[in-house]
């Protein structure tokens, strides 16, 4: 069974919520990401979302954009992401890993070739920001045949028709984007999140996780109470940026910093 499904089943049995941190591959340096991934898991991450750097990340706010730029500055690529996850799997066979990125690097490899490499690396799912259901047909089918989950976004502005379309195609979980705009923006409207998540639940049995705008334990908890889990990105990435700006290079320093942030959220989710 796919690791994502497995993980949600376990969480359900335990009555716990999924904590899904996001970091960008190669940010700020190639040797940082692997130790950071392990540290995230040790401190309570259930699923890891690994951002694949792209030259034109149009859906990202300034914080994650800059992370992409830092990673690209030393040439991080989709191939590196595949290699990295393979290394991660040498010592972790159970934590699901999702690649989050943009279509063009995947298309450059070719869907089929990418899927072969991703399976071999031990990747469980992908979230391709700029492949909405209308454009995802072929890729979705190929991912499905390979047993990989295709994760889709839903937004507060998604029409009913689109929510149904996404519910039909999606695998893994539904990623509900809690606000309009780019990553890292604005404040969370809990009432609106509840309405939307409740509605999505009427359309699908997949878990619904919420991302965008989750800053700390309190906001993570507030959102998790309404859903099956939270995705946390910009807070972690901006912490890494802060350290990088200070000239930190030790992978351990980065791991420690994200560990404490994630541990706080884990604690808020569980207690």
């Amino acid at each position: 069974m796919n690791r994502i499904k497995q993980r949600f089943e376990v969480l359900k049995q335990q009555g716990r919520k999924a904590l899904i941190p996001y970091v960008v591959l190669g940010d700020p340096a190639a040797d940082v990401t692997l130790p950071v991934m392990h540290a995230l898991v040790e401190n309570g991450a259930d699923i890891l979302e690994l951002g694949v750097p792209f030259s034109d990340p149009t859906a990202e706010g300034p914080v994650i954009q800059k992370a992409h730029e830092r990673a690209l500055a030393h040439g991080s690529s989709l191939r590196d992401a595949l290699t990295l996850v393979k290394q991660f799997r040498e010592t972790n066979a159970t934590t699901p890993v999702i690649l989050m990125g943009y279509a063009n690097p995947i298309e450059r490899l070719g869907y089929q070739h990418f899927i072969e490499l991703a399976l071999d690396a031990g990747i469980d799912g992908v979230l391709t920001v700029d492949l909405p259901p209308e454009e995802a047909g072929e890729f979705n089918q190929q991912l499905g045949e390979a047993g990989m989950e295709n994760i889709f976004l839903l937004a507060p502005t998604s029409s009913d028709k689109r929510q149904k379309m996404v519910a039909e195609m999606a695998g893994g979980f539904i990623y509900y984007v809690s606000l309009k705009g780019v990553t890292g923006a604005g404040n969370l409207d809990v009432v609106s999140v509840k309405q939307h998540v409740d509605h999505i639940r009427t359309l699908t049995d997949l878990p619904v996780c919420v991302g965008f705008g989750i800053k700390d334990g309190a906001s993570a908890r507030a959102v998790a109470d309404l859903s099956d889990g939270v995705v946390v990105g910009s807070v972690l990435v901006s912490k890494m940026a802060e350290l990088a700006a200070r000239g930190e290079t030790s992978p351990q320093t980065f791991s420690k910093a994200v560990s404490s942030l994630v541990a706080e959220m884990r604690d808020a989710l569980d207690n």
Binding site: D56, N104, R108, P132
Partner: protein, 405 residues
């Protein structure tokens, strides 16, 4: 049988914005709603006689259309070969073809009731055209412009400010048009409730390539009538520069079904196609996904979009409108490249022998048309789209001449 003859060019794109394998809507879910809204407004107004009448009225009385089709007699004589006609988009209000499209999109914006418009700009011509229509309609206007372009197009930056627009410098990526478009998309998704995004070329997610083409097609419709009136026949060839491709598709589209009319889209060859430092994805790129559509792109082996180079800011873009990608593949239009030096020579030449100073973008079309004319007969005609005037480029040219103004 001829395959091309059976294509109904007016039926493109399909319902999802596809031109063959190109185009479409490759955007984050968060943007879909805005695009759906735009599409439904456009569909409801597209064939509305009142909307069309308003558009035509503005083009006539505000832009100054029809733009002349001018027989460049001396240029023709000195070149030797086919007769060279210039479609004078440089004579439009604000100095380029860009205003045709901004008039159209501003009318759409007005129907939505949104009080704020945004735009991306490279050369600044589209920014100026957007700031202009915003001033006229009393709309708040933010124009995103790469820092590098702000440097090389400072005259247009100041024009936009005089028109009341806010010019937002873009410092990410290569700091040119592509990054300005990224920023505009980000702004739009954040402020979609009160903001209308006026895209400046026939690229971006569906329905932009279609609606920009339709607004710009006035160029080709006029050129068709004018050619028939002045020469008694259709032109033998059309030539236009291609950045995103809006002036080119505007000229080409009404002629696509006329098999006798050859078409040439001229991309920016920069330092030369062989150097890799250019902006000619149709000549030297591969299909990929950027800015909401699938099209030919300049990218590296990892699928990262690479920095382009052209002396003209308006052509300095790593992608191209998806319809051009399709027209290339089906062989209807031939895409060629002209490098920086050839474009500069054409700029100087046309200025000296016709008293017409072309924009550096348009100078690419001028340079290619001259080459083409020499291979054609004197009884044949070429229509060249003079997409804009060169006033905005004076500082760039002076700098090349080593002169500080």
């Amino acid at each position: 049988m001829n395959k091309k003859a059976s294509i109904d060019f007016n039926q493109m794109p399909d319902a999802h914005g596809h031109f063959g394998p190109y185009g479409g809507r490759f955007v984050s879910e968060t943007l879909i709603y805005a695009l759906d809204e735009l599409e439904s407004i456009y569909r409801s107004l597209k064939d509305d006689p009142e909307f069309q009448a308003q558009f035509d009225y503005d083009l006539a009385h505000y832009v100054g259309r029809p733009s002349p089709l001018y027989f460049a007699e001396r240029w023709t004589r000195e070149t030797g070969g086919a007769k060279l006609f210039l479609k004078r988009e440089d004579l439009n209000h604000t100095g380029a073809h860009k205003i045709n499209n901004t008039i159209g999109q501003a009318l759409l914006a007005k129907h939505t009731g949104k009080q704020r418009v945004i735009a991306e700009t490279g050369a600044g011509q589209h920014g100026v055209a957007t700031a202009t229509v915003a001033a006229r309609l009393g709309l708040e206007c933010h124009v995103f412009m790469g820092e590098e372009d702000i440097q090389r197009q400072s005259l247009n930056v100041y024009r936009m400010k005089l028109l009341g627009a806010t010019v937002v410098p873009v410092t990410s990526g290569s700091r040119t048009l592509k990054d300005a478009m990224n920023e505009a998309l980000r702004d739009w998704v954040t402020n979609v409730d009160d903001t209308f995004y006026i895209i400046g070329t026939c690229a971006g997610p569906h329905p932009y390539p279609e609606l920009v083409r339709n607004f710009q097609s006035v160029i080709g419709r006029e050129a068709r009538q004018q050619s028939l009136a002045q020469t008694g026949k259709l032109p033998d060839a059309l030539v236009a520069c291609v950045g995103g491709g809006s002036n080119a598709i505007g000229l080409f589209h009404p002629f696509l079904a006329d098999e006798s009319v050859a078409m040439y889209g001229v991309e920016a060859g920069g330092f030369g196609l062989g150097t890799g430092k250019h902006a000619a994805p149709l000549n030297d790129g591969i299909p990929g996904v950027l800015h909401g559509n699938r099209t030919y792109l300049m990218e590296d082996e990892n699928g990262q979009i690479i920095e382009t180079h052209s002396i003209s800011a308006g052509l300095d873009y790593p992608g191209v409108g998806p319809e051009h990608s399709w027209l290339k593949d089906i062989g209807r239009v031939k895409y060629v490249a002209i490098d920086d030096d050839e474009a500069m020579d054409a700029f100087r030449h046309l200025t000296r022998i016709e008293g017409i100073m072309p924009a550096l973008e348009s100078s690419h079309a001028i340079a290619y048309a001259e080459k083409l004319a020499r291979q054609m007969d004197p009884d044949q005609t070429i229509v060249v789209n003079l997409s804009g005037r060169g006033d905005k480029d004076i500082l760039t040219v002076a700098e090349i001449d080593g002169i500080t103004l």
